[in-house]
């Protein structure tokens, strides 16, 4: 019970001090809005293009929201040494890091809701399979957050966190089938697409929104879970090796 009190309070503290701050809320709203507008205008097809753009917009909103926030907040706390306070408390490291990442996961899910809510007003989403869309959103938020954690553990400075995050994020925009089908990529780049976790998340979203997934859910979800486990484990190993010297 005492561990869960700590877990819940770390999560609440992060939500209050980072994620619910007006600049972050506006970032969470504006960023998906900007992407939506950009791709809507770029498609030039009118409102009927929304369902085909939606999986990519949801994925990119989560990816940028979760990775940015976590990589920056953890690096910031490490830098001003308040993270030591958490490491010195009697909570298992795994639970502590789940609490720290919980806020970013929720932030990612909230970011996903922006293009979804907008789409509700302009297009028909009655054929969307919410049963697979909802876990896909959570899975993408988790993978993105753990990627952000991996970045935070790998760098020392806040600006390095942003730079290193972009090293992963920007290739994902083009390689994971967010807006361009993987089949349209040059043949030598396609294997790279299947090494990136977002490919599987976007595939679930495509299936849920348009019924056009290219891989079975039985593959997509386990691969996403595997990435979560691997990224989280590597991050914990990094914390143990670098921060508890």
């Amino acid at each position: 019970m005492t561990r869960w009190i700590a877990f819940w309070n770390i999560l609440l503290k992060d939500m209050r001090t980072y994620y619910l701050k007006p600049p972050n809320i506006s970032w969470g709203l504006l960023f998906p809005l900007a992407w939506t507008a950009m791709f809507f205008i770029k498609s030039g097809k009118g409102l009927e293009s929304i369902p085909s753009l939606l999986p990519g917009l949801i994925a990119i909103s989560i990816l940028f929201g979760s990775t940015s926030m976590l990589a920056v907040t953890v690096t910031f706390e490490k830098k001003n040494r308040s993270f030591e306070r958490l490491l010195l408390s009697p909570i298992p490291l795994e639970l502590l890091m789940l609490a720290k990442t919980g806020g970013a996961i929720l932030f990612g899910v909230a970011n996903a809701s922006v293009p979804l809510v907008l789409a509700l007003f302009v297009t028909d989403l009655s054929r969307v399979s919410w049963v697979s869309l909802a876990p896909a959103v959570v899975a993408i938020a988790m993978v993105s957050t753990f990627l952000g954690l991996f970045v935070a553990v790998s760098v020392r400075e806040v600006f390095e966190a942003q730079t290193f995050s972009n090293f992963f994020r920007f290739p994902m925009i083009f390689l994971c089938g967010l807006f361009f089908p993987i089949d349209s990529l040059p043949v030598f780049l396609r294997p790279l697409s299947y090494l990136l976790p977002l490919t599987y998340g976007v595939d679930i979203l495509r299936g849920a929104i348009n019924g056009r997934n290219s891989m079975p859910l039985g593959l997509d979800f386990p691969v996403m879970c595997l990435y979560c486990v691997v990224l989280f484990s590597f991050s914990l190993r990094g914390i143990n090796r670098k921060w508890i010297t």
Partner: protein, 337 residues
């Protein structure tokens, strides 16, 4: 300060709360801590003194679980923490040398958050936080953000956060460094109160006067090795057995030290700056012959006063390091941070 009932009763057979044996830690080629052994008794206020880079922080980090020892053994509260530092973390409070609370949270919120990290329930943590804000003279500032606190207030709140869960042992790293005199006095008083209330305290400080005033026993660490551990009384005994007098005189009195040593073979003379001489003797020093001797050499004695040797003299003798240099180095580091 109020003693809280949550302290686990000590096993009567073991008088030590912290036991460190042959503890070592290397960073590359550098032995930061080299086969360090010591014990801290239950309820003791134990000082850990040494110059910068001596291995104090590395030792504290290993004791609290922020660093892993390469070899050796650590027991805290009877629990073996060598491989499992989490084992005793609920009994430990840590006040780092930097006030590292959350700037966006108020004083009260910071304390409540720290209490929650130790599993305290909402009502309990709010009550304890308010009690500590009052004890530390921060009641009025409880709702203000930590970022807006003065340095002294930040230090006090950081100490309050370290004891929010009523730990059995408190690691205090430089509690009064870089703060005003009044706040430093208040903090020393609070530390003494905590000690009286039964908390074991492991104090690291560059302020030797502070250590002398507060600590019962002191360990000196130099270049990663403990060079001396003893009670303050025992450490001071050899220097206090001597009689020391500082003589201020006009002109070039220090230049006559050799003449003085020839004339008074049972006394030891040490030239100091600005016409001052330090005179040491195992017996009481007779001032008259000294004054006559200097007068015969056309040197006027302005003042002669007995000097009470302090722990600082012991520190200089044991470590071979001038404390002024240590303090300046500390201030330089603090200033550049």
């Amino acid at each position: 300060m109020e003693t809280r009932p949550s302290h686990t009763p000590a096993p009567p057979e073991n008088p030590f709360f912290i036991e460190v044996s042959e503890l070592s830690k290397r960073f590359g080629e550098v032995a930061a801590v080299d086969r360090v052994s010591f014990e801290v008794r239950r309820g003791e206020l134990f000082g850990f003194l040494g110059p910068n880079g001596a291995g104090k922080t590395t030792t504290i980090n290993m004791l609290t679980g922020l660093a892993r020892p390469d070899s050796g053994e650590i027991r805290v509260g009877g629990l073996d923490c060598t491989g499992n530092p989490k084992a005793a973390q609920h009994q430990i409070g840590v006040v780092p040398d930097e006030s590292n609370l959350y700037p966006e949270l108020s004083g009260l919120e910071n304390l409540c958050f720290c209490a929650a990290l130790y599993g305290m329930r909402k009502n309990e943590r709010r009550g304890r936080a308010r009690e500590l804000l009052e004890t530390f003279g921060l009641k009025e500032a409880g709702d203000r953000k930590f970022a807006g606190y003065s340095r002294g207030m930040k230090r006090k709140l950081t100490i309050a956060a370290g004891i929010i869960h009523d730990p059995q042992v408190l690691f205090l790293d430089e509690p009064t460094s870089g703060i005003d005199v009044a706040s430093a006095r208040h903090i020393r008083q609070l530390v003494a109160d905590l000690h009286r209330a039964g908390t074991t305290i492991f104090l690291t400080t560059h302020n030797i006067e502070e250590a002398e005033r507060l600590c019962e026993r002191i360990a000196f660490i130099v270049r990663g090795r403990i060079v001396r551990v003893d009670t303050v009384a025992n450490l001071l005994q050899p220097v206090r057995e001597k009689h020391v007098m500082a003589v201020s005189a006009s002109g070039s009195a220090p230049a006559h030290c050799l003449d003085l040593a020839s004339a008074f073979p049972f006394l030891r003379f040490q030239p100091l700056s600005e016409g001052r001489i330090l005179v040491e003797s195992p017996d009481p020093i007779r001032v008259g012959p000294l004054v006559h001797f200097l007068d015969d050499h056309d040197i006027e004695v302005i003042e002669a006063r007995l000097v009470q040797p302090s722990l600082e003299d012991v520190f200089v003798r044991v470590t071979g390091i001038e404390t002024d240099a240590m303090t300046k180095e500390k201030e330089r580091v603090a200033g550049s941070a």
